[in-house]
């Protein structure tokens, strides 16, 4: 790999730009492809570049055959995100497990005392009101949102924004009874049955979790299962 290609790849990744590194495995020639174009020495047909851009969109590395040899498309996507509403005791292990699993984690809690009560080393903490924080964070298809406060004033506005976003996972901590009441309030805000069915509540896989770390594990297990399409195979 040319030093300049390596430096440019690092630059694009640092800027959070999804980028694919294409390598002709026979010649070693390379090309960097983003949604807006390509740069590098590897010559490819326009439709091959388009195929690489499709791989970029689907967030999946792949390879294809060309007359000049096999080309490997290595997709470097920005990390998926995990937004945790509520700096409560479960948030600390959840944030740490999320970071370990490769997520960019943001904790949202406007209550300063709560945010200060936990150790969130190296984790982004937003002190904005949840609806404002969520509007800024703009959850996308690679974002998971988990509410933990048990407080409708904080959880509901966050869930309201999450339900209007393409977030791949939405989870809300609370008992079945709490969750039923929550669904009633969100329905009153105009969310239909299909939208409400997107919320995992009570949150997490049923593994009998008791401690904060175990509950965090059950939540990350469920987030992973949804993201990777698990649960459908034995």
């Amino acid at each position: 790999m040319k030093g300049a290609t390596f430096a440019r790849l690092a630059e694009l990744r640092a800027a959070g730009t999804p980028v694919a590194l294409l390598t002709n495995l026979r010649s070693g020639s390379q090309l960097l492809v983003t949604a807006s174009g390509s740069e590098g020495e590897l010559c490819l047909d326009v439709d091959m570049v388009a195929a690489a851009q499709d791989a970029l969109k689907s967030d999946e590395s792949t390879s294809f055959e060309t007359p000049a040899g096999k080309v490997f498309v290595h997709v470097f996507a920005p990390p998926p995100r995990l937004v945790v509403v509520g700096a409560v005791h479960i948030a600390e292990p959840l944030a740490r497990m999320g970071a370990l699993a490769g997520y960019g984690v943001t904790i949202v809690d406007p209550r300063r005392a709560f945010a200060a009560s936990q150790r969130f080393d190296g984790i982004a903490v937003s002190g904005d009101w949840p609806d404002e924080a969520m509007e800024k964070l703009r959850p996308d298809m690679r974002t998971a949102v988990v509410t933990l406060t048990h407080d409708p004033k904080l959880d509901d506005p966050a869930l309201d924004v999450a339900l209007r976003s393409p977030a791949f996972y939405i989870g809300a901590l609370g008992s079945r009874k709490t969750h039923a009441a929550r669904l009633g309030r969100l329905a009153a805000l105009g969310h239909g049955e299909a939208a409400l069915a997107r919320i995992h509540g009570p949150v997490g896989l049923d593994i009998g979790a008791l401690s904060p770390a175990e509950i965090a594990l059950s939540i990350m297990g469920q987030v992973t299962a949804v993201r990777r399409g698990g649960g459908t195979r034995k």
Partner: protein, 109 residues
């Protein structure tokens, strides 16, 4: 960070380069059957054979590191095939029965 990695391999590669070390990357480009690491998994290697990351569960790293050290010396990239047969099961191969193809390249100065 690549979602397949616990730590950022390219960032490690950049650090090592900045420290004046010769560096190569090994990348899983194809897998067949049950393979321990997904396509895109990477290993970074320096000229002394020090490495970070993984391209398998530890089955083929030794051979990949040897090739990477050679790639750093010669500048020649290479495509390595690893599979497993009963005869080679105790040598370099994947105990799980999968096959992987690993591309090894030097990062030029």
């Amino acid at each position: 960070m690549d979602a397949t990695e616990v730590r950022d391999i390219l960032a490690t590669a950049a650090e090592w380069r900045a420290g004046g070390r010769g560096v190569a990357l090994a990348t899983v480009v194809t897998t067949w059957g049950s393979s321990p690491r997904p396509v895109g998994s990477q290993l970074v290697v320096d000229e002394t054979g020090r490495f970070a990351g993984s391209v398998s569960g530890g089955c083929i790293e030794g051979a990949v590191i040897r090739e990477a050290v050679d790639a750093i010396a010669t500048g020649r990239p290479r495509l390595l095939d690893f599979g497993v047969t009963n005869e080679q099961a105790w040598e370099v191969g994947l105990a799980c029965g999968g096959k992987v193809q690993v591309y090894v390249e030097r990062i030029d100065a």
